[in-house]
Symmetry: C2
Subunit: 360 residues, 2 copies
């Protein structure tokens, strides 16, 4: 595809073509070189959608909740794009299919666009691809973008944190392990949902969440540190002002495949609207966006640096070093120092990795 074609594709996305949108998303997901041109072209048209991340442990009913939420927004004439990040391998499509079948009743509606992204076999890095996909959907004019992750690991949390409003979904009766995961993701929640609120144990789950919130908020956030090395876990302390203004509400919902049994979605929408208003009114929105972009920048810098390094390192050189490590002659950090510090390389390093000086 030539640059001209990419341009045409991006313009078609802007003019509302669903077909162009799907094609461009595929190129983004495959990390096609020309996808970046399209993304650059579309970037000035982004920033209008409200991006809502939905995460939580397996078994909490996130997919049904996303489904119900999408329908509710459609009833308010808002257009909705859904990105479902599925931790499936590329060779088994079962789960993706299963989830999407539940969304069948949305599929005839041109105001809804659903995209699944597999976590494995993803060539651009998952949080980067998700971010780029969100931007393409944003430029395509969707009012609401729902990003759903199945799973509760750190990478899923990172993906959800690309959203403006993060919803953490809980459900009663999921056992000890799930409680453990809950503690980890609780601090990223802007809104907490107890789904399956009609099930036994819902009152206990609600009480446990309240206790955790009281223990953990807002002090919890200020305990996390901002550091180098592990980019994906970067978390800025929340200022006192900000923390004082937003305490995550807990919303009870019942989201089931049968729409008539669904309840609490209106309350959830209200909570989302409140969070959106909170973001728009104060300095919080700019602060949130600044942090999101900073994380993204470092992630991209890291990817670019390592990409260049990989191009520069010869397979022989790498094998030599690894063999020395295997023989316990060299420890891994010494190997890194050796690879990066070797004085024989100075003469060309400036062509490879150019770094800015402060105040340039």
């Amino acid at each position: 595809m030539s640059a001209g074609d990419t341009h045409t594709l991006a313009e078609a996305v802007l003019s509302g073509s669903r077909r162009a949108l799907a094609r461009l998303l595929t190129r983004v997901e495959q990390a096609q070189p020309d996808a970046q041109d399209a993304l650059s072209f579309l970037f000035p048209h982004t920033g209008h959608a409200h991006v809502i991340g939905i995460t939580g442990a397996p078994g909490t009913g996130k997919s049904s909740l996303v489904n119900a939420l999408a329908k509710a927004y459609r009833q308010q004439d808002k257009t909705v794009a859904i990105i479902a990040v599925d931790p499936t391998s590329p060779f088994t499509g079962g789960a993706i299919l299963g989830d999407r079948i539940r969304m069948q009743d949305l599929s005839g509606d041109s105001g809804v666009f659903i995209r699944s992204m597999a976590t494995r076999g993803n060539l651009g890095g998952l949080s980067r691809t998700t971010r780029d996909a969100i931007r393409v959907m944003d430029a395509a004019g969707f009012d609401i973008i729902l990003v759903e992750t199945v799973g509760a690991g750190q990478s899923e949390v990172d993906i959800v944190r690309t959203a403006q409003t993060t919803i953490v979904v809980e459900a009663p009766g999921l056992g000890d392990d799930v409680q453990a995961i809950k503690a980890g993701i609780l601090e990223i929640a802007d809104i907490l949902v107890v789904n399956k609120a009609d099930r036994p144990g819902a009152t206990n789950t609600l009480r446990a969440l309240k206790t955790m919130l009281e223990l953990g908020h807002p002090t919890s956030r200020t305990q996390t540190t901002h550091h180098h090395g592990q980019l994906m876990a970067v978390e800025k302390p929340v200022t006192d002002t900000e923390a004082a203004f937003w305490l995550p509400p807990i919303v009870e919902t019942v989201a089931v495949t049968d729409t008539s049994g669904t309840r609490g979605i209106d309350n959830l929408q209200q909570a989302i609207a409140s969070h959106q208003a909170y973001l728009s009114d104060g300095p919080a929105r700019a602060q949130h966006e600044y942090q999101r972009i900073e994380i993204e920048l470092y992630e991209r810098l890291q990817q670019t640096l390592i990409h260049r390094l990989r191009q520069q390192l010869s397979p022989d050189q790498l094998r030599q070093v690894i063999d020395r490590i295997t023989a316990r002659e060299l420890d891994p950090q010494a190997a890194v120092d050796l690879l990066l510090e070797s004085p024989s390389l100075e003469k060309t390093s400036s062509d490879v990795l150019q770094l800015p000086l402060s105040g340039s």
Copy 2:
């Protein structure tokens, strides 16, 4: 702590001091600068332990299984170290405590050493810290190191892949989401366990796993690609020879808090021993180790590069660029190119990032 003290500490670890081991692990976890010296000192003493990773979705009973496995190894007079990676936040210790209470009956035994590591607030990057902790325990002389991750995200999978033998635990009756996760982690399994095999639905779980294995192995592995940019997901194709020799066995277990009700652990130990023998006999062990070290090297290179970059970038410069992105004047990739390519920086870049030339 001076370099001399670190040296003393590392020597005490080698001579079997549990107190020194615990102290050094804390320094490793906190990414203390002197921890690297100790790791370099200990590195030549590593490579003896058999490292077993245990992962799976929440609710599968991994902790009880690890507990039962540790006891069984102790009965064979093998020393056992356990690293439990808990996705808890630093401010709520509930889950860690809960899991460890189940292991109470092991705690009086000096041949067992248990260490929990929190996924959040971890300063050195979790897979790096886990790898380093494994090396310290290995140098301390443990025969078996069990690495347990609660959760099923990509980061947890990466951690488990630092092991020589990877066990993926399943259990009946965990619903759709769990099935989805299963597909993603199935391809990393050397051994599959159906835990809670006495529960209703165990036969179905077993059958589903068998089908997935038939569909996905060994072809599945060769479909994954080795690429730059997203280091943690790097996976080398398995050669035909290797794939032909090891097909993951499926072992049924019942691991419960009440030891008398436990069964299937002997079969699991046999499966582990078979895998260990398979690794030792052929070229597989060297190949596995080569791949693990390659992944580690790139991860460390990446961390080191980004660390240097962070030191080099001034806050003003970063803010300027982010402000331009926020204003939609500059897209994120253009910003990265700008930061890395700026010609005014060439003169000092060689001091900052030195890269090797091939064949140097």
